[in-house]
Every structure is written in C-alpha cells, then in structure tokens.
C-alpha cells in the first residue's frame, strides 16, 4: 500500500495536480511516526504508511488549505469524518485539497505493546496476524489485536466520506461497534461512584493542552483558555474544581461536532480516557435526538444548532435521575 501511495503522490506532483503531500513520516524507531507535509517528490523517501500511522492529519489541512496551490491528503476513514466536519464548519477550503481515501484495518498503540512488558523496542515487523518486535533485550512476538489501540478495537466505520479517489478497498459502517459500552458502564454507576471515577482520571491532568490542540473539533483561532483577557486563562489548575472544568467545558464545546476520532485519548501523556466524555455526548445525542454522526453528511443540520418540535424537553434531565 505504502509504495502505491508514494507512486500515486509522485504522479500527482509530476502532472501539477498538487504541489504538496500530507501524510506520515518515519521516525527513529518503527513506531514514532510523525504527520508531515512533503514539499516535493524527493522528500517522499521518508513517507510511510503502516500500522503505526494513527495520527489524524485532517486538522493540519485548515492551515495547509490557506497556502498557495493544492495539497494531496491521504485520509483514513476516521480522518475523513474529521475532514468532512471541518468542511461543514467552513474551516477548510475544499478546492485546495485533493483527498485520497486509504483503508485502515486498525492502528497499533506502542503503549499497549509496552504494557505487555515488551520494552526497549527498536523495530516492529508485521507478520500475518502478529507483530515481531525487535528490542534491545531480544525478539518478542505479540498478536496484532493485543497491540491495537482501543479506538480501533471499537471502530465505528471503515467507510470514508468525501474523497476524490479511493486506493485499496472501501469498507463499511460498523453497526456492531461496542464503542458505547464503557459509557453505559459509567452511566450505571451511582453519581458518587462516577464522580470518584472522573476525579481519579482528571486529577492526573497536567494541562499540557495536547488534547485540545490535536482535536479537529477545537479550531478556534484563539482559545478562550489562552486569552489573557478572558480571566479564565490558566496554564495550570489552581484548584481541583478548575481541573474538572477544563475538560468538561471542552467536551461541551465540541458536543455534536466531535466525530469520535479518539485523538484526545491517544495523545494524552497522562493516559486519561478523555474520549469517554465525548462519547457520552454522542450517546446522549443519539438517544435524545436520533442517530447522528458528525461529519457523515454535509447537508444535515446538527442537533445542537437545530430546532424541531420533536426535540426532547429539558425535563429529560429529571427523568434520568437528576436533582430537581
């Protein structure tokens, strides 16, 4: 796949259809891949597409589409939802991007490999359903599904939206996805238990802002938390109250626009399952307003900015056990 992608990128660069390529660049080891913009065919020598290209590249297209010329972007199914949502919000100039959809069969997470006690990882080779891991301390083997990231194990869709061209085989929407199971588990807790759960998770936050900065739904030119005049900009939480509020406010802000790409949890250096906050909103929207997938349909109005006479009453909160 990787070689075919490089060849196609070279073709499009050569005939002048595009002037840059958005993709992934290899690192020092086999797992530390960075998203990258390739300015010419020579730079494509570092282009890579493999099991570790989990990073969503859609958000970069906001800035890239402001530059001269057209950019070729290779998008995985989940990246394409973020891309389509950004188009809907008029954040990307569609004319400036040529999208090639590429399949993703699930991406690996180096932290899951490390959690299995495999350390000192130098290289990782794909062999059938296994990874052969070359480490400083010898060779190890791990089944791919054991190394797969949580978001891929509960993948919602292997089907793209809004691509100009497909390479490889197009997939299907996965109606069987178990992505809301953990949310349901949290909903079944008592409020005190749930509060304890989130205090445990959010108290580890170091306010590095990685979740916000990677999030394709967080695209304010200047975030309220960065604005010195907003009175709420803080680089660290002065109290545990603030610590909770940052993430909750952010989840509210992206509600209805979050496509569930899972980047927030992937990038968190403190391993906080932030995607669960967003999934709770998605699950609620599905239950209260009918099935809705952000980014799936360019013409559909999203429930948070729409009004219909069938909308649920605010009293739903009390019915669900909230305090009167």
């Amino acid at each position: 796949m990787q070689e075919a992608m490089i060849a196609r990128a070279k073709e499009l660069l050569a005939d002048g259809s595009v002037s840059r390529v958005m993709g992934w660049k290899k690192g020092e080891f086999s797992y530390d891949i960075s998203p990258a913009v390739f300015e010419n065919a020579d730079q494509l020598v570092d282009f890579v597409y493999d099991d570790f290209c989990g990073a969503n590249v859609s958000k970069y297209l906001i800035n890239e589409s402001k530059k001269e010329g057209k950019i070729l972007a290779f998008l995985k199914p989940c990246d394409s939802y973020s891309f389509a949502q950004l188009l809907k919000e008029h954040r990307i100039d569609r004319e400036k991007v040529y999208v090639i959809g590429i399949p993703s069969y699930g991406k690996a997470d180096i932290n899951k490999i490390r959690a299995k006690g495999i350390d000192g990882v130098l290289g990782i080779k794909s062999e059938g359903t296994d990874f052969i891991v070359d480490t400083i301390y010898g060779e190890e083997k791990i089944a791919k599904f054991e190394a797969m990231s949580e978001r891929c194990l509960t993948c919602k869709s292997k089907k793209h939206v809004d691509v100009d061209e497909m390479m490889g085989e197009e997939g299907e929407w996965n109606a069987e996805s178990k992505r809301f199971d953990k949310v349901a588990e949290l909903e079944a807790m008592t409020p005190d238990e749930r509060f304890e759960f989130w205090r445990g998770e959010l108290s580890r936050c170091i306010r590095c802002n990685a979740c916000r900065n990677v999030c394709p739904a967080c695209t304010c030119v200047s975030c309220v938390f960065d604005n010195p005049n907003s009175d709420i900009n803080n680089k660290a939480a002065a109290s545990s109250f603030e610590e909770n509020m940052f993430h909750i406010i952010r989840a509210f802000h992206v509600a209805g626009r979050c496509t569930d790409c899972g980047e927030c949890s992937r990038v968190c250096p403190q391993n906080i399952p932030l995607h669960l906050l967003n999934r709770k909103f998605i699950k609620d929207i599905n239950e209260l307003y009918g099935q809705y997938q952000a980014g799936a349909n360019a013409d559909e109005k999203y429930p948070m900015v729409n009004f219909t006479f069938d909308d649920c009453e605010p009293g739903i909160v009390y019915k669900r056990g909230g305090n009167q």
Binding site: E39, V121, I136, I206, R207, C208, A210, V214, K235, P269
Partner: protein, 341 residues
C-alpha cells in the same frame, strides 16, 4: 557500602516514612509516578517515571501568597501559606533526573536565588538508583551522564536480590545508617560488575550518537537561521507536553486566581510552545509556531550551553520522545540540525 535484601526494602521505607515524608516510584494508571510512601506499596520496576522528578523542587503549581480582602473594612490581609520547608526523601531518582537538578540549580540558585526552590533543595534528600534496564529512548550518554553511577545524597544499585547503598553526602550518611541497622556491610565487586554491564548496554543504545559537537561548532546565528526550522515545526501541535514532562524545562508564569474572599497568587509551569509565552505589551516576538518551536530547541542545544560553560539544557531522559503526541522531539531536531553523517 551497605546492602539490603530486596525483601527488606519496605522495612527501610517504613523507617524513613516514620520520620519524614518519603516518595517512591510506583506503577499507576499514568505509568510510573512518585507517590508518598504508604505501608505495603511496591516500588515500580520501570526504567523511569512518566513525569520527571523536577516536580519535587519546582512543582507545576505553587501558591506563593494569598490575599484576603474584607470589603466591609476595606482591608487586604496578606496570608503566608508557604509550605516548602518540610524535610522529605525521594527514593529511586535516575541519573538523568539527578543531572537535571544541576541544570535547574544553575537557574534557580544563581543570583537572585529563588527561595522557594532553594528551600526545597535544602530540605530534600535524594536517593538515586542506577539504571538496570535502559530503554531505546535513553540518550543520557550523549551528555556525558553515567546511568550506572548516579550522584545524589545516596546512590543505590539493584543487583539480583540485593540493594546496595552508598552515601555521598552528610545527609546521605544519616540515611544509610538506617540501612546499616537492618542490612549488612558489603563488598564493592558485585556493584562494579553491575556497572560494567550497564555501560555495555548503554553503548548499544540506538540514539546515543547525536552530533551535538557539530551544532556547537557552528555560530549561534547560523543555527538560528538554519533552513531546518522551516520543515521541522510544521506538524508541531503547539501543546506543552514536551515542556511539562521535561526535567530541565524551567519556565514559569505567575498568575492570580480570584476567589470570593480574595486572591490566590500562584506560579505555574509555562511553556515556550504557547502563544502567550513571554507576551509583552506590544505582542509576542515569536509570532508563529516556527519561532516557538525553534526557541525550545535553541534554548536547550545552543543558548543554555553558550551561557553555561558548554553544559546542554538536556539530559537525554527520553520523556519527550515517549510523550510527544506527534513524535517530534529533540533527537530528531538535533539530527536534522547537526546533520546525519
């Protein structure tokens, strides 16, 4: 030198914890993390903690002073809430983090001395642990750090079923006296063999040979104007992860948090990756992520050694390699800047 069977380590921990606060690295949801010792805790076997040990001397958030406002009396009361003058012991600091304290000392103990930092340094006892299982992301050897023989008030080596202790300072001797009570005196030979083994492993690590001398040989402006900055920053998210997990990043901001009764004045880590970092009335000198990105690496690889007898502002702990969301890091930058050959 004194040794103690690993099974008795918790007795030693309990003896310290009975008198002062003791922190040890334990496995947690966010990887190995230093936590206050409680009976029965098991020490983590991880190569290093996710967050660095700088937190003990330069915490992420530190309340400087509180102001209590009484609107009726139209008065402001200043409340001293300083707590940094408490004795504590950190156990299990690695050589890279120990070296980072020397870098922080150059900043915070030079004139004007930062009294918050100094109090913590004076009241902390550091027990280091030699590395036994270096990782692919380790490159401390590039900065002349010996992972097999860290400094600190006390140095420990975990060899087989034994922990070997050696005191390096007066504070350290008092601590090792507690080991002597439950342990036994030991020969140096097993430790010397262990050190040789670690050195052999360090020599095999993949990223130990970054070409720092090439960067240093070039002038400041040549590095500053290098074309590599145009490329390297492009997918940097501008988050503060690298700066927050870094044991040598030392920048802070002073902020005020308004409460109903007054103001909490605190300082917190700042990051050169942020748009409002060193913001002045005219705006910001570093207008785009390219300048911010360049600042961080120029500071560590060029400005800091220029001002500190050639000592780099990096200790090769590898945390940024593990934590950067997009896997951009100092090794990739140093290789691009220094050249690959």
């Amino acid at each position: 030198m004194v040794k103690l069977n690993v099974s008795k380590l918790n007795d030693f921990f309990a003896a310290i914890a009975a008198e002062e606060k003791l922190y040890i690295p334990v496995d947690s949801a966010d990887g190995a993390a230093f936590r206050p010792y409680e009976a029965g805790m098991e020490m983590s076997k991880a190569c290093n903690s996710t967050r660095s040990a700088k937190d003990f001397f330069f915490p992420q958030v530190e309340n400087l002073v509180n102001f209590k406002v009484d609107h009726n009396k139209k008065s402001i009361e200043i409340i001293d809430n300083r707590t940094e003058a408490e004795d504590f012991v950190i156990f299990g600091v690695r050589a890279c983090d120990m070296a980072s304290f020397e870098i922080l000392d150059r900043v915070y103990l030079s004139d004007p001395v930062d009294s918050y930092y100094k109090n913590r340094r004076d009241h902390g006892v550091i027990v280091t642990a030699a590395c036994g299982r270096p990782q692919e992301t380790c490159f401390c050897t590039a900065f002349g750090i010996d992972a097999s023989n860290p400094a600190g008030d006390v140095t420990t080596w975990f060899v087989g079923d034994d922990v070997y202790f050696k005191a390096n300072t007066e504070k350290g001797e008092a601590l090792v006296a507690k080991v002597a009570a439950i342990g036994e005196s030991a020969e140096e030979k097993p430790v010397e063999d262990f050190k040789a083994g670690v050195k052999f492993m360090m020599g095999r690590l993949p990223i130990k040979d970054i070409k720092l001398d090439k960067i240093s040989a070039r002038g400041l402006m040549e590095n500053f104007n290098s074309p590599i900055w145009d490329d390297e920053f492009k997918t940097c998210l501008g988050c503060g992860t690298c700066t927050f997990v870094c044991p040598t990043c030392q920048c802070f901001d002073v902020r005020e948090f308004k409460t109903n009764e007054g103001v909490i004045r605190f300082r917190c880590w700042d990051s050169c990756m942020y748009s409002d970092f060193t913001q002045m009335s005219h705006g910001n000198n570093r207008v785009s992520q390219k300048e911010r990105f360049r600042q961080r690496f120029m500071h560590k690889l060029v400005y800091f050694p220029n001002n500190n007898e050639g000592i780099y502002g990096c200790v090769g702990c590898g945390r940024c390699l593990r934590s950067c969301p997009q896997s951009l890091n100092i090794v990739k930058v140093a290789k691009a800047l220094g050249g690959k050959d």
